[in-house]
């Protein structure tokens, strides 16, 4: 990859100068324009690396508290015992090697008019463009009985870390014949197929170690991603071990008692669990609210053609934090949004024409070893909205042979290796 050469950059500045006269660039020259990125996950790390590819002369700073990022993708395989914890971790050496300044701190506040960002270290950074990819925060006030303290007894494990390891320990400690209860929220939430892949991965573990156990899924909706394929795969590999109860059958949970490990549904049924996994409703990571870019929904509305936030010019948002339907909240999507935003920001700062907006998604899910399924979609901006390109996308065929499912399981593992290398570098 050769980025734009210095001569081309200066040339385009001279040629198109007046119209792109950004205050910071006039002040200091294009070479020192600074882009600050909050979040070193799929959206943020990808944006940082691709900004540097498009415009090596930009100063790119990434803020992420964790020295090593553990991915949610494949964390269900860790629960199953099919993947080690360490294999989910990715460091930031690759980003540093690409010339990105990585600061391990939390971003605490944004001053949009002064264009500054305050860090937990007390440091304040100035920026010409700010990119927020903070992922999700849990809504601790949305499900009665389920707050941060309750999550230590009934883990969500919906951010990869101690929560995921806690859930695995609880599964290990559970006696054979116990009941694993999962509470699943309504849309929108991080990773639409994630709960159902998790059910399969927990079943894989139980089938080997605790075959008399049951898995009960209490869902706040009647439909979910790849539903037909999941129901078929669960049955094929795990018989009746997994029971899914949708909204119409009183699946919506309205109260949690984490100490008693019980949950209550809308119509007053009480279910008792041996292991209780509560995935609560979510919202954009708190820094988005501090930046003033969220709306009443708790998520960030963005411009379909650039992922610049609708509320504040110069601030971009990516990934799970955004309102980007019909695109799902997935790592694949965060990665492609980041590439579009990086190309757009670089073009803007260098006075070039912006790229045409184009996004894609594929989510592979593993139902068991050698049994994978997928859903794909292709998206573009049209009249200020994001649309799925008509005729594109869809799920794996329902009548596929075993070899096809085995191929998709292998492709899923290959996808994980590729996207992680693409995002954090080798």
């Amino acid at each position: 990859m050769t980025g734009p050469t210095r001569r081309r950059v200066l040339g385009s500045l001279a040629a198109g100068g007046a119209s792109l006269a950004l205050p910071a660039m006039v002040r200091a020259g294009a070479g020192s324009a600074r882009v600050v990125i909050v979040g070193g996950g799929f959206g943020g790390a990808t944006a940082a690396r691709y900004l540097k590819r498009h415009a090596p002369q930009l100063q790119v700073t990434l803020i992420e508290p964790a020295p090593r990022f553990h991915t949610c993708p494949f964390s269900n395989l860790y629960l199953a015992g099919l993947r080690s914890w360490d294999s989910l971790g990715h460091g930031f050496e690759g980003l540093r090697g690409a010339g990105i300044d990585v600061i391990h701190a939390r971003a605490d506040d944004v001053d949009a008019s002064r264009r500054t960002l305050r860090l937990s270290t007390g440091q304040t950074l100035g920026w010409d463009r700010l990119v927020l990819s903070p992922g999700v925060d849990m809504r601790w006030d949305a499900l009665p009985g389920y707050d941060e303290a309750a999550a230590l007894l009934a883990p969500h494990a919906w951010k990869a870390g101690l929560q995921t390891q806690l859930l695995r320990r609880q599964m290990e400690a559970m006696a054979d014949g116990g009941s694993f209860v999962m509470v699943i929220p309504d849309n929108p939430f991080r990773c639409p197929p994630g709960p159902y892949e998790r059910a399969a991965m927990v079943a894989h573990y139980f089938k080997q170690h605790k075959p008399r156990s049951k898995i009960l899924l209490l869902d706040a909706k009647d439909n979910f991603s790849k539903k037909g394929l999941f129901l078929q795969g669960w049955k094929a590999l795990y018989g009746d071990m997994i029971e899914w109860v949708g909204l119409a059958d009183d699946g919506r949970v309205t109260r949690v008692d984490a100490k008693a490990l019980t949950v209550e549904t809308a119509f007053g049924q009480v279910h008792k669990a041996a292991v209780l996994n509560v995935i609560p409703p979510q919202k954009a990571g708190f820094i988005a609210e501090r930046a003033g870019v969220v709306d009443a929904s708790g998520w960030v509305p963005v411009k379909a053609e650039s992922f610049e936030t609708r509320q504040v010019a110069g601030i971009y948002a990516l990934g799970d934090a955004t309102l980007a339907a019909p695109m799902p909240k997935s790592a694949f999507v965060a990665n492609t949004q980041a590439k579009l935003a990086a190309a757009t920001i670089a073009a803007d700062l260098l006075g070039r024409a912006p790229p045409a907006a184009f996004y894609a998604n594929t989510c592979y899910s593993l139902i068991g070893p050698g049994y994978g399924i997928s859903v794909a979609g292709v998206y573009r901006a049209e009249d200020g909205r994001i649309i799925e390109v008509p005729g594109s996308g869809g799920v794996s065929p329902s009548d596929a042979e075993a070899a096809f499912r085995a191929d998709e399981a292998a492709y899923g593992a290959s996808w994980y290796a590729a996207i992680c290398t693409d995002t954090w570098g080798a």
Partner: protein, 125 residues
């Protein structure tokens, strides 16, 4: 879309031969410099737009199209071969049910040509 693209012979070959046969033939021809990349086409997509399109491929096919596992690498393959495969996926003539078919149905011919060129040239700008 004008049908008489450069590399027409490539397109025809892909329609008659199974992909498993097309690949080695084209690769060896390309190695001898016998397969000509098509001439520059009318409305070519700008490089930044091509880069964004290719961004949706490398998170499966590996950085710049270099394989990281079971998904095949696509970096440096012959342009005509890439174009033919992508069109065949899109038009449902190749590997039914493949995720490639579901993805390519969302790409128009200009985009497919830009992608073929991008990865043939090494997956970078």
């Amino acid at each position: 879309m004008p049908p008489e693209r450069g590399g027409l012979s490539t397109l025809q070959r892909s329609q008659v031969l199974p992909p498993s046969l097309v690949a080695p033939v084209l690769l060896s021809l390309a190695g001898l410099g016998l397969v000509l990349a098509g001439p520059a086409r009318g409305a070519e997509l700008p490089a930044t737009t091509a880069a964004v399109l290719a961004g949706g491929c490398v998170n499966c096919h590996g950085p710049d199209g270099r394989a990281q596992g079971a998904i095949p690498g696509i970096r440096g393959l012959d342009e005509g071969y890439l174009r033919a495969r992508l069109l065949a996926f899109r038009d449902g003539r190749d590997a039914p049910g493949s995720v490639m078919t579901r993805l390519m149905k969302g790409h128009d011919t200009h985009q497919i040509e830009a992608l073929a060129k991008w990865f043939a040239q090494g997956g970078t700008q």
